[in-house]
C-alpha cells in the first residue's frame, strides 16, 4: 500500500517539475514526512516549519512535501525524484531515513540535504536535532510530583538513542523528586499507528500507570487517557492543546521554524554549509507547552524554574553521580554528559527495571 502511495507521490513530484521549470530563479525546497501533516504531533510541527519558510521568504522559494514516506528504499526514490525535479534543499524528517539520505546525497552533490535527528554527515548533508531530553526532564519533574501510584507509563517507538535518551532523562528528573517512582516502557515499534498507540496507553493504565508519556506521533494515547479518570499525560512534539487542561497537563513542542528559515536563507545567500545543529530550550527549538491548572501551583513553579535553569545551562539534564543500569559508573559527582555519549546513548541509567530490546 505504502509503496503505491509513494510511487504516486513520486509521480506527483515529477509532474511538479514540468510546471515549475519556468520559475527558474525560485529556490525549490522539498520535505519528506514519516506521517501525515495532520498527525497533530511530529510531522505537524515539521510542516509548520515548512510553512514558516514560505511565509518568511515568500516568492523566493517554493516548497513541496511528500507525506507517509516509509523509512525504506521508497524514501530514496522520493528524494531522487525531488533532486531530479530541481529541488536544491531537501529536508528528511525522520531518523531512519539516514542511510537513504547518504545514498541520494552521494548521487547529487549539488543538492543540499538536511537530516533530522541523524548523525551521518557529508559535504552536502547537515544534521539537526533538538535537545528533546531537556523537555523530557521538565515533564519528568512534573510526572514525579503528580503520580499517585508511583508508576509512570512510557510509550516508546523504536530503541534508538533519541528515544532511550528521553526515557533516561525523564526517569532521572522524576526520580529526583520522587525516589519511589517506577517506569513501565512499552515499545510500539511504530511512529504512527493510532490503534496500537491507544492500546499501548490502555495496557499501561491497566497496569497501574497514572502518568503516561509518549514518544510516538499521534494523539491517540491522549484520547485513551481521556477515557480514564485521573490519568495525565504530555503533548509530544506538538502542543496537543485540544486535550488540555486534562489529560494533557503540559507538552514538549518542537519548534523547527527558525532553523528551517535560517537554512533556506543560507541557501539563498549561498552561505549554506554542512553543520551539526543540536538546539535546546535555550535557542527555542524545544518549548515547554503551557502547564495547566491540573498541575499544583508549586509544581508548576518548580518545573518552570527547572526549564529556565536548563536553558541558562545552570543545570544539565544528565548531571552525575549517575550509574548505568548494570551498576557501572557513568558520570561522577557533578560531571555532566558530553554530547557524543548522549547522541549514541544505548543504555538505561540505574533504577530503570526494563531491558532495551535489540
Amino acid at each position: 500500500m505504502n509503496l503505491i502511495k509513494t510511487l504516486l507521490a513520486g509521480a506527483a513530484v515529477a509532474t511538479g517539475l514540468a510546471g515549475a521549470a519556468i520559475a527558474q530563479d525560485k529556490l525549490k525546497i522539498g520535505f519528506i514526512y514519516i506521517g501525515p501533516p495532520g498527525d497533530m504531533g511530529w510531522t505537524y510541527e515539521h510542516d509548520q516549519g515548512r510553512k514558516a519558510i514560505e511565509e518568511a521568504l515568500g516568492d523566493k522559494v517554493e516548497t513541496t512535501y511528500v507525506e507517509n514516506v516509509p523509512e525504506s528504499a521508497d524514501s530514496e526514490r522520493v528524494m531522487t525524484q525531488m533532486a531530479l525535479s530541481g529541488h536544491k534543499l531537501i529536508f528528511a524528517t525522520s531518523f531512519n531515513y539516514m542511510d537513504h539520505v547518504m545514498n541520494v546525497a552521494k548521487k547529487f552533490p549539488d543538492v543540499k540535504f538536511e537530516h533530522a535527528t541523524g548523525f551521518k554527515r557529508a559535504d552536502n548533508v547537515s544534521t539537526y536535532s533538538a535537545r528533546f531530553y531537556e523537555g523530557r526532564a521538565v515533564i519528568g519533574h512534573i510526572a514525579g510530583h503528580m503520580t499517585k501510584t508511583n508508576t509512570i507509563g512510557y510509550i516508546a517507538s523504536y530503541p534508538i538513542p533519541e528515544v532511550i535518551r528521553g526515557i533516561n532523562s525523564a526517569y532521572l528528573a522524576a526520580k529526583a523528586v520522587n525516589p519511589e517512582v517506577k517506569f513501565k516502557v512499552v515499545w510500539a515499534y511504530t511512529w504512527f499507528d493510532p490503534g496500537k498507540e491507544a492500546d499501548a496507553a490502555n495496557a499501561l493504565i491497566e497496569q497501574g500507570a497514572d502518568v503516561i508519556m509518549q514518544h510516538t506521533d499521534s494523539t491517540a494515547p491522549m484520547s485513551e487517557m481521556k477515557k480514564h479518570e485521573g490519568i495525565i499525560g504530555f503533548g509530544q512534539a506538538s502542543d496537543m492543546g485540544q486535550f488540555a487542561p486534562k489529560p494533557r497537563v503540559s507538552s514538549i513542542i518542537d519548534n523547527w521554524a527558525p532553523y528551517y528559515v535560517a537554512r533556506a536563507q543560507a541557501m539563498l545567500d549561498g552561505t549554506w554549509e554542512s553543520t551539526d545543529t543540536w538546539h535546546g530550550i535555550k535557542e527555542g527549538m524545544v518549548e515547554i507547552g503551557e502547564m495547566t491548572e491540573a498541575v499544583p501551583a508549586e509544581v508548576r513553579a518548580s518545573a518552570q524554574e527547572l526549564a529556565e535553569k536548563l536553558a541558562s545551562g545552570e543545570v544539565h539534564a544528565f548531571t552525575g553521580p549517575i550509574n548505568k543500569q548494570d551498576g557501572s559508573a557513568w558520570l561522577a559527582e557533578g560531571e555532566t554528559a558530553d554530547d557524543g555519549t548522549l547522541a549514541g546513548m544505548d543504555f538505561y541509567v540505574e533504577g530503570i527495571e526494563a531491558e532495551i530490546p535489540n
Partner: protein, 310 residues
C-alpha cells in the same frame, strides 16, 4: 516481571473492544462469501466507514448517526464493486483490491480537515447493580452498546443462514448459482444485497474504530484490520460463531502482548508484535491441512462470475 499486575478482567474487557471492528467486518464478509462473492475490498470499505462515520458524528454531535452514516457509506462504496463484478463481469479479486486502494485514497482526501478533532463521547452502558458486580459486572454488563450489537449480529446472521428460507436461498446462490438461477432465484439481486450488507458491516467496523476504539480520525488508521477480517472468515470456516472466536483470539493476542511488555516480560517486543499474525497464520495452516472439511464449508461458487445464459 510481575505478571500478577495483568488483570484478567480488564484484559478481557479491552480485548473485546479491540476485536469488535474486525468482528463486524468479518461478519459482513462472511455473508458476502456465503453468497459466492469474494470481495477483497474490506480494508477500503472499513476506512471509508471510519472517515464518514467520524465526519457525521462530529458534524451532528451524535455517535449513533456516525455509526449509521459509516454503515451507509461502506455500503455505498461496496456498490462500486457490486456493479463492476455483477453487471460488468469484472474479475472479483482485481476489483476488490482496487476497491481497497480507492477507499484508502478517498478516505484521506475526505478526512483531510478532520484530523486532531475529538468526536462526541460514546460511553459504556451502566446498569445499576449488575454493572457493579465483581468480575461478571465488567465482563458482561460494562461495555458500550456496539459490542452488544456485534454479538447480537453474530447470532442474527447464524439464525438467518441456518434457520430461515432467505438464508437457504443465499447459500444456494453461493453453492451453485446456475442451479439457483434455474430454480428462478435472482442470483444477481441476491448477491447485490449481500455485497451491500457486507459493505455496511465493514463501514460499521470502521466507524467503531474511529469513534470508540481510538477515538479520532487518522489517515490509514485501519492499518490492515480489513485483511485480518478476511483471514478470519476462512479461519471461521464460514461459520458466524467461529468468527467471534477468531476475532477475539486476534484482538486478545494483540492486547496481551502490549500488557506483557508493560509487565516487563523479557522477550523482544519485536517478537511479541508478531504474535497476533503468527497465531492467525498457524490456525489458517491447520485449517487448510484438512482439505476435505475445508471444501465442505467453502461456498462452491466462491469467486466465480455468474452469467445468466438463458
Amino acid at each position: 516481571m510481575d505478571l500478577s499486575s495483568i488483570s484478567p478482567v480488564t484484559l478481557i474487557v479491552s480485548l473485546m473492544a479491540a476485536s469488535t471492528p474486525i468482528l463486524l467486518a468479518a461478519l459482513g464478509e462472511l455473508v458476502v462469501e456465503k453468497s459466492g462473492v469474494l470481495n477483497l475490498g474490506v480494508e477500503g470499505m472499513m476506512i471509508i466507514g471510519a472517515v464518514c462515520g467520524f465526519i457525521a458524528a462530529v458534524t451532528t454531535g451524535s455517535p449513533w448517526l456516525g455509526f449509521l452514516f459509516g454503515a451507509i457509506c461502506g455500503a455505498a462504496v461496496s456498490m462500486i464493486f457490486a456493479v463492476l463484478t455483477q453487471y460488468l463481469m469484472a474479475n472479483q479479486v482485481a476489483t476488490g483490491l482496487g476497491l481497497t486502494m480507492f477507499g484508502l485514497g478517498l478516505a484521506s482526501l475526505l478526512g483531510h480537515s478532520y484530523t486532531g478533532i475529538n468526536p462526541p463521547a460514546f460511553s459504556q452502558i451502566h446498569i445499576p447493580v449488575l454493572s457493579d458486580l465483581p468480575v461478571v459486572g465488567r465482563i458482561v454488563f460494562g461495555h458500550d452498546p456496539m459490542i452488544y450489537f456485534s454479538l447480537a449480529l453474530t447470532f442474527a446472521i447464524w439464525y438467518f443462514l441456518t434457520r430461515t428460507r432467505g438464508g437457504l436461498v443465499l447459500r444456494a446462490v453461493g453453492e451453485s448459482h446456475d442451479a439457483a438461477h434455474a430454480l428462478g432465484y435472482k442470483v444477481i439481486r441476491i448477491r447485490m444485497l449481500a455485497i451491500a450488507f457486507g459493505g455496511a458491516c465493514a463501514g460499521l467496523g470502521g466507524a467503531y474504530l474511529s469513534l470508540v476504539r481510538v477515538p479520532q480520525w487518522a489517515e490509514g488508521m485501519t492499518a490492515g484490520a480489513g485483511w485480518i477480517a478476511l483471514a478470519i472468515v476462512v479461519f471461521a470456516s464460514w461459520k458466524p460463531g467461529r468468527a467471534i472466536i477468531g476475532a477475539y483470539l486476534f484482538g486478545g493476542v494483540t492486547v496481551l502482548q502490549l500488557n506483557l511488555q508493560a509487565a516487563g516480560l523479557a522477550i523482544s517486543p519485536a517478537y511479541l508484535s508478531m504474535t497476533p499474525y503468527l497465531a492467525t497464520i498457524i490456525v489458517l495452516v491447520i485449517m487448510a491441512s484438512d482439505k476435505k472439511r475445508q471444501s465442505l464449508n467453502a461456498p462452491a461458487s466462491l469467486g466465480k462470475t455468474f452469467f445468466a445464459s438463458t
